[in-house]
């Protein structure tokens, strides 16, 4: 059954268009389209593209022509990985088949490609325009919900939290049975947390788990709920579980950098081996480029580690040359933002360097930073030993929050040795000075948990820290070549 509940106006427009064609031409168009589909299903891509091309020549105004253009655009995107080649095809659907429902699909896909290609907030304008056109011109189209969702993502990327929330709630409201619904609900919950509504965030995440228990977002919600509750509400005193994985001692070669990937796996840079490794169970697997004396580790969205060293710059892949970063003397932090820019901090430079995908380097005003970690708001948290404060920066590197070193602690610390943050905005640091130990802050800079190494019964040379997905804090002890887990 073809279902167009109250969406038949658009479908009738198509029928009207079809009616204007001769029945013969319409029949031919359909047969060419189906023939192309069969060829495409059999992975005979050139044959499929040729057949659809023929259709475009013989019946350019047919509704099947619009569908063929969409199929061709998808092919460019998914098989050829050439989004630029897809754009003109989608543009053609927009201009030549505006009155058909396929124009909505074309606009949506075009918007998604443009959003992916955006390298700065202003670049999102065209994408947002396409999404808005879907919303305004096709209010009954199934693509509406996805368009709303992407409008929410675009607003979120620009730090427009309330607007993002508005779009996400609009998306949720439309059709709870669609796969977009759990995604929108997840994003809405995360935005609520950024906006300071922790309980609202937790309620929505739990509701997501109840409504869509089998969705990937539900499992993501599960650990995020647990993390937030443990860190921000329960706040149990930190205690050491000892070497981790349990019983593993002297098994690493000078671990100096740590991170946690999207799957919750720990990534460890071993200085003696000049490479990062991903820990799966108790097994280590080398991953990413080789880089000598790396001082910072960042994970790309696909989990690939990037390494930063003073000598070579940013190493992103084994088969690619490193990206040079001019003027780097004592690198202390690295991450890639939503626009695919690398943010680089240097303990001896009174600025942050931003390396754009084009290789262009620009500076952002900042005090010298001893450590840096990415925040879920698109910005970063940086530690300035010189100023004795943590700075929570937004996506445009503007300080949003300043937390003096030692605030609310029994004793102040002087140095931040390592800094890490998780996707829920918790920030953990290894600190040194009068207070030597581990400190955990919330996304709003409030002190959540802390303990000195002495209190934890730890003795070692801890140089890296990360937060796992089970509410633990992982420390790397470079002198004893092991990891310690705090709970």
């Amino acid at each position: 059954m073809l279902l167009f509940p109250s969406r038949m106006r658009s479908a009738f427009l198509v029928l009207a268009v079809l009616a204007t064609l001769g029945a013969q031409e319409s029949d031919m168009a359909e047969r060419l389209f189906r023939s192309g589909e069969r060829a495409y299903a059999a992975k005979s891509y050139p044959e499929a593209l040729e057949t659809w091309g023929q259709l475009l020549q013989q019946a350019p105004t047919s509704g099947f022509a619009a569908q063929a253009l969409l199929r061709m655009a998808n092919h460019q995107l998914e098989q050829e990985h050439k989004p630029e080649a897809a754009l003109p095809l989608l543009e053609r659907v927009k201009t030549e088949h505006m009155k058909t429902p396929w124009a909505a699909d074309a606009m949506l896909l075009r918007g998604q490609i443009l959003a992916t290609q955006a390298r700065k907030p202003q670049d999102l304008r065209d994408a947002v325009g396409e999404f808005n056109r879907v919303v305004d011109l096709f209010p009954d189209h199934p693509a509406l919900q996805t368009a709303r969702y992407h409008l929410g993502l675009a607003a979120k990327l620009q730090g427009q939290w309330a607007r993002a929330l508005q779009h996400f709630t609009d998306a949720i409201r439309l059709d709870p049975t669609s796969p977009v619904a759990p995604k929108a609900q997840f994003q809405a919950a995360e935005v609520l947390d950024v906006m300071g509504d922790l309980s609202g965030c937790l309620r929505l995440l739990q509701s997501l788990r109840n409504q869509f228990p089998q969705s990937p977002e539900a499992s993501e919600a599960a650990w995020r709920i647990a993390q937030r509750v443990k860190f921000r509400i329960q706040k149990p005193p930190l205690r050491s579980e000892g070497p981790w994985p349990q019983g593993k001692t002297k098994w690493l070669k000078t671990p100096t950098l740590l991170s946690t990937n999207a799957n919750g796996e720990i990534v460890i840079y071993q200085d003696d081996l000049d490479q990062a490794f991903v820990l799966r169970g108790t097994e280590l697997t080398a991953i990413g480029p080789v880089c000598k004396s790396a001082k910072a580790l960042a994970l790309l969205p696909d989990g690939t580690p990037c390494l930063l060293s003073a000598k070579t710059g940013i190493s992103t892949a084994a088969n690619l040359p490193p990206i040079p970063v001019a003027g780097l003397s004592n690198p202390s932090g690295l991450f890639q933002d939503a626009w695919q820019n690398f943010w680089v901090s240097d303990a001896k430079a009174a600025a942050l360097s931003v390396v754009e995908p084009t290789g262009t380097l620009r500076s952002l005003p900042s005090p010298a930073t001893s450590a840096m970690a990415a925040l879920p708001n698109g910005g970063a948290v940086v530690a300035s030993d010189a100023n004795r404060s943590l700075l929570f920066l937004d996506a445009s590197a503007q300080p949003r929050l300043t937390v003096p070193y030692g605030k609310d602690l029994p004793a102040p610390f002087k140095y931040v040795v390592a800094l890490s943050a998780d996707p829920t905005g918790h920030v953990v640091a290894l600190v040194d000075g009068d207070f030597e130990g581990v400190v955990l802050w919330g996304p709003n800079g409030s002190l959540l948990r802390f303990a000195t190494f002495k209190e934890l019964g730890l003795n070692g040379k801890f140089r890296a820290v990360t937060l796992d997905r089970q509410g633990g804090i992982i420390l790397a002890d470079r002198s004893n070549d092991l990891l310690i887990r705090l709970n």
């Binding site: 059954m1 073809l2 279902l3 167009f4 509940p5 109250s6 969406r7 038949m8 479908a11 029928l15 009616a19 029945a23 209010p139 009954d140 199934p142 509406l144 919900q145 309330a162 607007r163 929330l165 508005q166 709630t169 949720i172 409201r173 439309l174 059709d175 709870p176 049975t177 669609s178 809405a188 609520l192 906006m195 509504d197 309980s199 609202g200 937790l202 309620r203 929505l204 739990q206 509701s207 788990r209 109840n210 228990p213 599960a222 709920i225 647990a226 509750v229 509400i233 329960q234 089970q470």
Partner: protein, 684 residues
């Protein structure tokens, strides 16, 4: 079981007279009596003759169709008239004609020898001998049914004379092989006939009280008991402790096959009796008379509640008056219960067990009329689709479904429905133009014009499956709520209390602690907790957080309907919401209005949504509540254009007054930040 077994020398008389005469019957009988008295005691020959003439003129036209008492009366009247006419010189010539008519009416009639003169008697006999043939009939066994020329003779009457010529005579009796003979009769001879039946099965005879009881043998219905028992059955009546008048006439079961059998006696409003007949009833062949069975009354009580006003209750099509009704005494059994409301209807098959009470909550269902499959263009699967459409009602749980009246066209039906408000929804099937036609558009519409369109292929496996699913799906409009926001956390024994409202806190709920039991049963997670709330009887639950159990009061928290769910049919949903609203009060009414507005927003009828929202008020301020209403009012006003911006600003500001109001449900996001953003967007 009391069993009375003996061979019957004579079966009871089965004949039950059926008269065709009407209301004047008593008067005619009275006239007959008066006529006899006039002559017998007063000697008023003329007066008597006049009265008998009256009877003659009333009965003669019916002639041979008369039976029993009336036939006898007409025969006697001829007899009396013959005697009276014979004594009146002016009428003397008429006397033989009276006798002739009498003979024609009943050849076996015996004239009254006390009344009739010897001369007249001799004339009568001579007449009979000249016209009829004397027959000597031997019937064995007695008590059977004699049929003459295909017409059964009344029981107890004798056959002595027949007209000359050919006749078919049949004799039958339950339990015996029937006989049929053809006889040729000639005048002036006496014919002897022997009709002896051969036994071929046992018979069972039984009586019931009351009459009208259905008799089933091994589950197969044999008929119903009827009439009234003959005086011979008095002992049976006494044994059954009923009067003779309460006992039905005998019901005879013949052709009883060998082996044991089960006899069932069923009657509405009475308890069914089950009688086991062992093999001795069937063989050897015998006539068995069972006891008289008195069926015990079987009744139950029916309570029909409703929250909608103006409903009238019908049981099996008979009005029982307005609802609600409490403990209405009715016969036990199965009923087609129907409640007709001013808008919407309700029907349900209900079983009322004996001595028990059945309770039905009648909530009006929206009514849908199928307007037909448009056009006359033939296409493959047209008839098949038509059948699917016409029987769609069998698959609908939430709608009452009817088909357009035969001969009525769509427009007339629509006009009629709008005028009479006999339905809330229509369904129209419209072939999509094409060569060949291979798609049909289905349009579900409210009478107010909100439409849902879907397209089906007539030859697909089940073209109406998706539509039926959508029509049957009504989203939840509320959920039981204990004032707790719960989380599933690893390592916790049950759902962990994130937040508790004032009532729950007052009841003793502790935040930051897991709930371990609900109503005495362990509860593992939030899903189990929600389920426990749904299943909880009443509006209270007992829960435990590992220490002393505490009582929590449940409320119903409103839920929003989705705006564009592909699995819903919005016209039928809207009709359902409108019906529910008619019966709703207070916050429930306000929240139904909110969902009506959302359904109208689905159709982008923002002006009508506004009208609905304008009338809605909710006292509650938490969850989906007044703040939610105000927020959607603002949204609708914005969609109506810039001219309504000031009103929209007012609505969003109003929404900000309810900081605990949420969207979607009690666990949804707060309205306030969204209202604030909307206000920011409206700033110049």
């Amino acid at each position: 079981m009391f069993r009375c077994r003996f061979i019957l020398p004579l079966l009871f008389v089965l004949a039950a007279a059926s008269w065709n005469l009407s209301a004047q019957d008593p008067a005619l009988k009275e006239t007959f009596q008066q006529a006899k008295v006039l002559w017998g005691t007063q000697g008023d020959r003329e007066g008597a003759s006049a009265k008998f003439e009256q009877i003659l003129s009333a009965l003669e036209p019916k002639g041979k169709t008369l039976e029993g008492e009336w036939l006898q009366m007409l025969c006697e009247t001829y007899n009396w008239l013959a005697v009276l006419d014979d004594r009146t010189p002016a009428k003397k010539a008429r006397a033989p004609k009276d006798l002739e008519a009498l003979l024609e009416l009943n050849p076996d009639f015996e004239v009254d020898r006390n009344l009739t003169s010897a001369r007249l008697l001799a004339h009568f006999e001579a007449l009979r001998t000249s016209k009829l043939v004397r027959v000597k009939l031997v019937l064995e066994p007695e008590g059977g049914t004699l049929t003459l020329d295909g017409k059964p003779r009344p029981k107890g009457t004798q056959l002595k004379y027949l007209s000359p010529g050919s006749h078919r005579i049949a004799y039958a009796k339950a339990g015996f092989q029937p006989i049929e003979q053809q006889v040729d009769l000639a005048l002036k001879e006496t014919k002897s006939l022997e009709l002896k039946l051969v036994r071929n099965s046992s018979t069972i005879t039984l009586h019931t009280s009351p009459a009208g009881v259905e008799i089933l043998l091994d589950g197969k219905s044999l008929g119903k008991t009827s009439g009234q028992a003959a005086p011979e059955a008095r002992p049976l009546a006494e044994k059954a402790e009923v009067s003779l008048e309460q006992l039905a006439g005998p019901f005879v079961i013949s052709d009883l096959a060998a082996g044991s059998h089960i006899l069932e006696l069923r009657a509405p409003c009475f308890r069914t009796r089950r009688i086991d007949l062992d093999a001795t009833y069937a063989t050897p062949f015998q006539d068995h008379l069972l006891e008289a069975y008195r069926l015990e009354p079987s009744r139950g009580a029916l309570t029909v509640n409703t929250t909608s006003p103006g409903g009238e209750l019908f049981l099996n099509g008979t009005s029982q008056g307005p609802i609600p009704v409490k403990d209405l005494q009715v016969c036990s059994g199965t009923y087609d219960l129907q409640v007709r409301f001013p808008a919407g209807g309700f029907s349900q098959r209900v079983e009322i067990p004996e001595g028990q009470a059945a309770t039905v909550l009648a909530r009006p269902k929206a009514r849908m009329v199928f307007l037909g499959l448009e056009g006359t263009d033939e296409f493959a699967g047209r008839d098949r689709l038509q059948r699917f459409l016409e029987t769609l009602g069998e698959r609908l749980k939430t709608l009452a479904f009817t088909v357009i009246a035969p001969g009525e066209d769509t427009q007339t039906t629509l006009a009629r429905l709008k005028a009479s408000k006999e339905a809330e929804l229509t369904l129209l099937a419209r072939p999509v133009p094409g060569k060949p036609i291979h798609e049909v558009e289905l349009v579900v519409s409210t009478l107010q014009g909100e439409e849902d369109h879907s397209v089906v292929k007539p030859l697909e496996q089940d073209p109406l499956e998706a539509l039926a699913d959508r029509l049957n799906r009504i989203p939840l409009l509320s959920q039981p709520w204990g004032g707790l926001n719960l989380l599933d956390l690893p390592g916790e024994a049950g759902p962990w209390v994130l937040q508790a409202d004032e009532l729950a806190l007052r009841a003793g709920v502790k935040t930051g602690k897991a709930i371990t039991q609900v109503n005495g049963k362990p509860v593992a997670n939030t899903a189990a907790f929600r389920q426990a709330l749904v299943e909880a009887p009443g509006d209270r639950i007992t829960l435990s957080q590992g220490d002393a159990p505490l009582q929590l009061t449940l409320t119903q928290q409103a839920l929003e309907i989705p705006l564009n769910a592909s699995n819903l049919c919005y016209p039928s949903l809207l009709a359902e919401l409108r019906l529910r609203y008619l019966a709703a009060k207070g916050d429930e009414a306000g929240l139904l209005r909110l969902n009506q507005a959302l359904a109208l927003m689905h159709f982008r009828m923002f002006d009508r949504a506004m009208e609905v929202l304008r009338d809605a008020r909710v006292v509650g301020s938490q969850g989906v509540s007044q703040g939610t209403l105000d927020y959607y009012t603002g949204i609708c006003l914005l969609r109506l254009g810039n001219v309504y911006v000031p009103e929209a600003i007012q609505a969003f500001n109003q929404a900000l007054k309810y900081p605990q109001a949420t969207l979607f449900g009690p666990e949804g996001p707060l309205v306030a930040p969204l209202a604030r953003q909307a206000l920011d967007d409206l700033k110049p």
